[in-house]
Symmetry: none
Subunit: 233 residues, 2 copies
DNA sequence: AGCTTCTTTCACACTCCCTTAACATTTCTC
DNA sequence: GAGAAATGTTAAGGGAGTGTGAAAGAAGCT
């Protein structure tokens, strides 16, 4: 249920802001709330949010202006999706806002479910499509679109987490990952997971892909650092 | 990002027209806007657009009429896809599907995300050869033109949603879809629908297509990910 | 209106996966 | 070679994800 997405909420009304935060957090997102536009831009450049949720009528230079600044090239956040919060009646605001480059809007009063659904939809669309669907290495075939692992022609059952881990390692073959990096990349919610969990999964994968799990050809341990997937020559 | 597609927009409200143009252009399409239907047809025959975006309520002979004229044989644009813009309250399903031969519709007020997504989807569909109207897999026959499902020669009744879901899964056999992806592809407005609704439909489909619904051969669960339709060998 | 049919949600049962903790083993350091 | 640190391995409980029936909610039909 949890995801790694961080959302910047810019809303001056404290009640609404708390409400937004609450619903978004329940939905598994991390939230940072701002009551004015002042520091949003500079913080965003440091903190790299996945999405902005802007009230169109916040004080301190309004939301539209902030939207334009975000969209402006030159910073590293120009591509981050934006959702506007608008009053139901104010059609012109909405239109202007959308023209400014927002990705969607939610009208107040909003239903929590719709809010979350729109956030989810925008984030889903902004995710870049996965790199090559099928990875072939040695006698392995890792097909991410069907989530099927084949070893020497034999299909092997894997759990979702096993598969994601394998896919991540194999699609960056040669690169060493620390346990923490793997947790960040592969696990949905890293907050309460021991890095040692990775070890357990590495073992499970070795049992499935290695001839001799004790002497792995693919999934190598890099002592003191982490793990590396090694492509056979 | 750029594509060679040219879109004819027919819309009398100037604000909305500008908005449409803006978002379509940002998405990489070329746009020609018309505020009445008068010259659309003649211009289209010269200029060959890839898609029409018609407000259903434009003055000068309404959008439906224009749609009919476009679809009429004898010109060279009969096959160009059409998307309608409609007010939310309208009864759109019938208009789109049966009578007029439109390809999709977008309700006002629309979100840019949705607009562009639908335009993209329709263009994508029109570019590649149509997916086969009849899918034959194992003892299943899924005929999308007549919306008839046959299992081992036995015709089975399905609802529209059941059929669309089955068709989507079967026409991408092997690929895993998350519940959210299925909602996007099969349902119209996902904002108010729980992903779990998909489960219910999967179950209904299993009851109709599987010998043993508890051990499905076709419609497999991929735990932690979603569902996959598996073609038998 | 009343009826039917489809859609969506809810609640509960159940299964399987995930995480952890504990112990075993290997590798490094002095 | 002894101790420390890192990794390998195993099994169990608790929890998340899914299956399922029923009932409320929409939408169309007569």
């Amino acid at each position: 249920m949890a995801s790694n997405h961080k959302i910047f909420v810019v809303e001056d009304d404290n009640d609404i802001s708390r409400l937004l935060r609450h619903h978004l957090e329940v939905a598994g997102y991390r939230v940072r709330a701002f009551s004015t536009t002042n520091q949003v831009l500079s913080e965003a450049q440091k903190d790299r949010p996945s999405l902005f949720l802007l009230d169109i009528m916040v004080p301190g230079g309004d939301g539209l202006e902030l939207c334009r600044q975000i969209r402006q090239g030159g910073n590293n956040i120009a591509g981050v999706p934006i959702i506007f919060l608008t009053a139901k009646t104010d059609e012109t605001d909405r239109i202007v806002g959308l023209e400014m480059g927002a990705d969607d809007y939610v009208t107040k009063p909003f239903s929590p479910r719709e809010l979350v659904a729109r956030v989810k939809a925008v984030l889903r669309r902004s995710e870049r499509p996965l790199p090559p669907a099928v990875i072939n290495l040695g006698d392995l075939e890792i097909d991410s679109s069907s989530m099927i692992l084949t070893v020497s022609g034999e299909p092997k059952m894997t759990t979702a987490t096993e598969f994601r881990l394998l896919y991540h390692l194999a699609s960056h073959a040669g690169k060493v990952f620390t346990r923490d990096q793997l947790l960040d990349a592969v696990w949905r919610d890293t907050s309460f997971v021991t890095p040692r969990s990775v070890d357990v999964y590495v073992r499970k994968l070795r049992e499935k892909i290695e001839r001799d799990p004790e002497n792995p050809r693919y999934l190598k341990t890099v002592r003191g650092a982490g793990y590396r997937f090694e492509a056979p020559k």
